[in-house]
């Protein structure tokens, strides 16, 4: 028997909505550390499709540098890792909603982001570089780029937003949603320069050698670190201890060389 009364339907919707609100409220009573230890599982958020940081094998198994790091942390805590694939924006929200315990996903540690979530000390440091098509002979140095007629393509809301204007204040900036769109625009000449971190560029040069060239110079200092929910000091303490020893023991350098093929860039900034 269908009930079409407007009042009824509206109140049903309101009740359902209210119920959803109540049920969806996450329970934050236990610290993450306690939760991980008692459940025996470490929920790790990763980004698929970003080799060699992380990618998915044809059978759906995650593998990569970030994956290995997560597996080592789980082993150190004597728990099992459980991988959740997310993409760029969800790297943060998955920690805020309590769906993951850590995020290991090529995650740059910034002050801005630190207002919503927490970071450990860095395990990799990357820098901004500029990339042009191999046949563009008029753009050889940063001074050539620093020109109003030169268009630099960047991905939105990343660290490039601040760093590109610092390096080349006169250049024009074009914002895209992902790297493939920038590459497509670079190929057709609508964008003259692409700006990404040096590790991304190294991968690109490896896969598409001869098509592009990287301009000399590193134009930012960005720390890649592990993300965790904010306000949980115990959890941060444990993870940070692990990261410190991972770096100091040379384990990081070995793992990096294994996955990237070249030496780990220095992690400590030269003051």
């Amino acid at each position: 028997m269908k009930r079409f009364s407007a009042g009824r339907l509206s109140s049903v919707f309101l009740c359902a909505f209210a119920a959803l609100m109540v049920l969806a409220a996450p329970a934050h009573s236990q610290s993450t550390l306690g939760q991980v230890m008692s459940s025996g599982k470490l929920r790790v958020a990763i980004i698929g499709g970003n080799p060699p940081y992380s990618s998915l094998t044809p059978s759906g198994e995650p593998e990569g540098y970030d994956i290995e790091i997560a597996k080592r942390i789980a082993a150190a805590l004597n728990v099992e890792p459980e991988f959740i694939t997310v993409d760029i924006p969800a790297r943060v929200t998955v920690l805020q909603t309590g769906k993951a315990d850590i995020t290991v996903a090529n995650f740059t540690k910034t002050v801005q982001r630190s207002t919503s979530i927490a970071f450990t000390d860095p395990y990799v440091v990357v820098s901004l570089q500029f990339l042009v098509r191999a046949d563009q002979n008029d753009l050889q140095t940063i001074e050539d780029i620093n020109d109003r007629d030169v268009v630099v393509g960047i991905t939105r809301g990343g660290t490039a937003e601040q760093n590109v204007p610092l390096a080349a204040p006169d250049a024009s900036i074009a914002r895209f949603n992902n790297e493939t769109d920038i590459l497509a625009a670079l190929d057709t000449g609508q964008v003259h320069v692409m700006s990404q971190d040096n590790l991304y560029n190294a991968e690109l040069m490896k896969n598409r050698s001869g098509q592009y060239k990287v301009l000399p110079g590193l134009y930012s200092y960005e720390e890649i670190a592990i993300g965790l929910p904010a306000g949980d000091f115990d959890w941060w303490r444990v993870l940070n201890t692990w990261v410190g020893q991972f770096n100091a023991s040379g384990d990081n350098a070995r793992l990096f060389k294994e996955w990237f093929g070249y030496d780990l860039p220095p992690i400590q900034a030269q003051y």
């Binding site: 934050h28 924006p89 809301g157 990343g158 914002r175 625009a185 000449g189 609508q190």
Partner: protein, 226 residues
Amino acid sequence: MSYDLNLRTVVPYLGSLPEAALVTVGLSVFTIVLSLLLGIGGALLRRSRAVTFRFVGAAYVEFMRNTPLLVLLYLVYFGLPQLGLRLNGFQAALIALTINSGAYMTEILRGGLMAIPRGQYEAAFSQGMTGFQTFRYIVFPQVFRIIYPPLGNQFIQVVLGSSLASVVAVNDVASWMQTAGSATFRYIETFLVAGIVYVGLCQAINLARIVTGRLLFGPAHVARGR
């Protein structure tokens, strides 16, 4: 639901918002003007006596009504360079929006023109009026009255469609929201701000349409027409 709304996080980014809003408005205004011209051409095509012209006009309208604006935009921005025509984001967005909106303008104008009975043209000619005089004194005032509400609605549709320009590197309001959002991760706040801008723009257009409609045509003409 432990989310603390804090609009202050968005404040550092508000500085670039007026410029973004200007881009949105500018893109929309240019599109409306150009697509109106295109629409006049389209309407004339569809009312032509030659079958081929009528077919071309109808095909144009049906094509634009049944294909997504985003795909058209991608075609113009990423596809045309293959044919030798490289456009920047704003130009590509303007062209795609204009071509798309032109089809809807065609239909609006055609509807207006169809409403004028043949007899009025004949009466005008029999009185010795020239084509131009007929248009200026008989046809235009009536057509304008009829197309006025849907024209206002089309303006709103263009403003909404302009948000797609953010995908091809145009710094409009949608782009502002995506940039500020991904920098601060404060998606709710940035959405609220961007939403207010768009709702404000659209409702302002609506209001302007109703007010000027009343001024031009008298109170009987406040039909919603949406």
